[in-house]
């Protein structure tokens, strides 16, 4: 009985077409081989992937932290407004030549008025004197801070008054006992009810609530922006903070909103000059006030914080290179161990590129697995760090996808040399290898 082989076929001459026929890409077969090889040496494969896992994990942590910091920076700048400047008495606190708050000449209403006249560059200006107080309403107590401000302060802070009304200029001038409160205060003292027209006590001063600020929520650094009370500057300095006892026209800190269409940096020097003239500062002498650009300040602070991100990125890059070398090393071991298998495959018809593909697929699978494990590790580490260190993080899908792509790239890059070496083995030598 005859099986299979037909003499007519077995004696037939081999045609050109048969020899140049391109076998279909057997990627799935290569994948099966690769998974089998990795499973067979599971512990070794895992140790090999550790470098990639740690590197990818660190990359995700560093990118997520820096993206979180970047997002926080944007939120902080947004919340302050990019066009808001603050003037404080005393020399610049960047310069380190502060003469101490007690000796600094205070900013006064006249300074605020002088700035108010610069209405070609300044949209709104307000002094601000703050005090820590206790609010009392029908037996409910609530500790908070009160800000004595001008009528333009809402415009500077970019906040709306949802119920009631803003201060009238007359109330501000007269120092009337009126207050605008945040929604947290409404909840704490009025149980969420309508507070307009209600009388509360601020420390010992009875005050009438005339307005409620639009709810803002927590700031990006966790401060409740609705836990606040605004009152006319004159009222706070004469009755609550009592700064007027020493300086009757003390304006505290001055907040300036520059017109949106102007460049804040250009306007800054103009403001500085006006204040120097107003305060009779001789040419060459230092300012006795500090002009602070919040956006610049936050950016500068974040630059120092981003050093951490940079160190993590450097660590991550080092780990990835070490991980890549690990993959190259283990692939070389794998190629050596499987020399006879390579010889066998070449003998039964594998082309050089088939062997190359097989080992590149194996390296890719190592990279992919390492990338996925690194992704899980990185996400875990990021959330852990964010929880422990209490800083914002942002894990975007792009970060994760990019990290896995980098892991695969590293694996293919470092796996290429061993794979090429495998493909170039002489089949006769390989078959004979012991």
């Amino acid at each position: 009985m005859k099986h299979g082989i037909d003499p007519a076929i077995s004696t037939a001459l081999v045609t050109d077409a048969a020899l140049t026929e391109k076998p279909g890409l057997h990627l799935s077969a290569s994948l099966t081989i690769a998974l089998k090889a990795i499973r067979t040496n599971a512990v070794r494969s895992f140790l090999t992937m550790l470098g990639i896992i740690i590197g990818i994990g660190a990359a995700i942590v560093s990118v997520s932290i820096s993206q979180g910091a970047g997002q926080q920076l944007q939120e902080q700048i947004q919340s302050f407004g990019t066009h808001v400047l603050q003037v404080r008495p005393g020399s610049s606190f960047f310069g380190g030549r502060s003469r101490g708050a007690g000796t600094a000449r205070p900013l006064t209403d006249r300074d605020v008025q002088a700035l108010g006249q610069m209405n070609d560059v300044i949209e709104a200006v307000s002094g601000r004197v703050s005090a820590q107080v206790t609010l009392v309403n029908a037996g409910s107590n609530w500790p908070t801070s009160v800000s004595g401000v001008g009528p333009d302060f809402a415009r500077i802070e970019n906040r709306d008054i949802t119920a009631g009304r803003n201060f009238s200029p007359a109330e501000v001038r007269a120092g009337d006992k009126v207050a605008i409160i945040g929604t947290t205060i409404v909840d704490e003292l009025f149980g969420g009810g309508d507070p307009i027209g209600a009388k509360i006590r601020i420390d010992r001063t009875p005050v009438t609530v005339i307005g409620v600020l639009a709810e803002e929520g927590a700031s990006s650094w966790g401060q409740d922006q609705d836990d606040t009370v605004w009152m006319p500057l004159e009222t706070v300095r004469t009755r609550i903070a009592r700064t007027a006892d020493s300086v009757p026209d003390d304006a505290g800190r001055v907040y300036i909103k520059v017109w949106d269409h102007l460049d804040v940096l250009d306007v800054q020097s103009e403001i500085e000059n006006v204040l120097r003239v107003r305060r009779n500062i001789q040419p060459g002498a230092d300012d006795d006030f500090a002009l602070i650009n919040f956006a610049e300040f936050i950016r500068a602070r974040n630059q120092t914080e981003s050093l951490l991100g940079f160190l993590l990125a450097a660590f991550s890059a080092t780990s990835l290179i070490v991980g890549g070398i690990g993959i190259m090393n283990i692939m070389l071991v794998s190629v050596t161990e499987r020399t006879r298998e390579i010889g066998l495959r070449r003998a039964v018809g594998a082309r050089q590129r088939d062997v190359l593909t097989q080992f590149l697929v194996e390296a890719t699978v190592l990279g992919l697995l390492g990338g996925i494990l690194g992704m899980a590790f990185g996400m875990g580490a990021t959330y852990l760090a964010a929880g422990l260190g209490d800083f914002p993080v942002l894990i975007s899908p792009w970060t994760l996808a990019g990290a896995v792509a980098i892991a695969i790239f590293i694996a293919v890059f470092f796996g290429y040399y061993p794979a090429r070496r495998a493909s170039r083995l002489d089949p006769i030598e390989a078959l004979r290898y012991e």
Partner: protein, 221 residues
């Protein structure tokens, strides 16, 4: 120094026809391994002409040699060379991995080849679950699976005990009767005795070739 290159084979002129069963013999260093490597399209001659399945080997590039081996040759080794932790069917399919063939056809062919070598009951066993003789049968099935013009066996019984070696030689003899061309290297006369033709090498030359005598013997019977 190093300039006096000694060729492994000199003045070898022979033909192996479809359907033959040839034993290659000779001491180590006689050139028989080089001869087998060339017949297996794994090596090419530095001079002279070698044709396999009608193709001049010198004219083929590496990929074409791979395709030629894949489509016209089957290899059997002394150490079986089976993939560990891989079942018989998958081992036998190995050469088909480098062809355009759908998975169902590969599986069908592998199972047919295993049936042919008498391992129908061992399809799903891995090498470690098989005896030496069974492993070599799997290897022979692997050599058969692509319907080769010729099977090249390098000391196929070298790692087997005498009884198992006889079984394997019986299988080769059966396959040859069914039309499979077989060329095997051995240094044992009893093994070579199963072949219908013996070529002996020494010092890179053929010192004996029983082709003519066998033909005579056949005419006489």
């Amino acid at each position: 120094m190093g300039n006096n290159v000694v060729p492994a084979l000199r003045g070898v002129d022979t033909q192996i026809q479809p359907g033959e069963f040839v034993a290659i013999m000779g001491p180590s260093g006689s050139g028989k391994s080089t001869f087998m490597n060339m017949v297996g399209a794994l090596d090419t001659p530095t001079s002279g002409r070698l044709e396999i399945a009608g193709r001049n080997i010198a004219e083929l590039d590496s990929d074409q040699l791979s395709a030629l081996r894949n489509q016209t040759l089957g290899f059997v080794f002394q150490q079986f060379m089976l993939l560990p932790r891989t079942n018989a069917v998958d081992n036998v399919q190995l050469p088909l991995m480098y062809t355009r063939m759908n998975a169902g056809e590969k599986d069908r062919r592998a199972r047919a080849a295993l049936e042919r070598v008498g391992l129908a009951e061992r399809m799903d066993h891995t090498p470690s679950q098989l005896s030496g003789g069974q492993q070599q049968r799997v290897a022979i099935a692997r050599a058969l699976v692509n319907d080769p013009s010729m099977i090249l066996a390098d000391e196929p019984t070298g790692a087997l005990d005498t009884a198992t070696a006889e079984d394997i030689m019986g299988l080769f003899t059966d396959l040859n009767r069914e039309g499979v061309t077989i060329v095997l290297v051995t240094h044992e006369e009893e093994i070579a005795a199963h072949a219908r033709r013996t070529i002996r090498f020494r010092d890179g030359r053929i010192i004996e070739d029983t082709a003519g005598s066998e033909l005579r013997a056949e005419t006489n019977t």
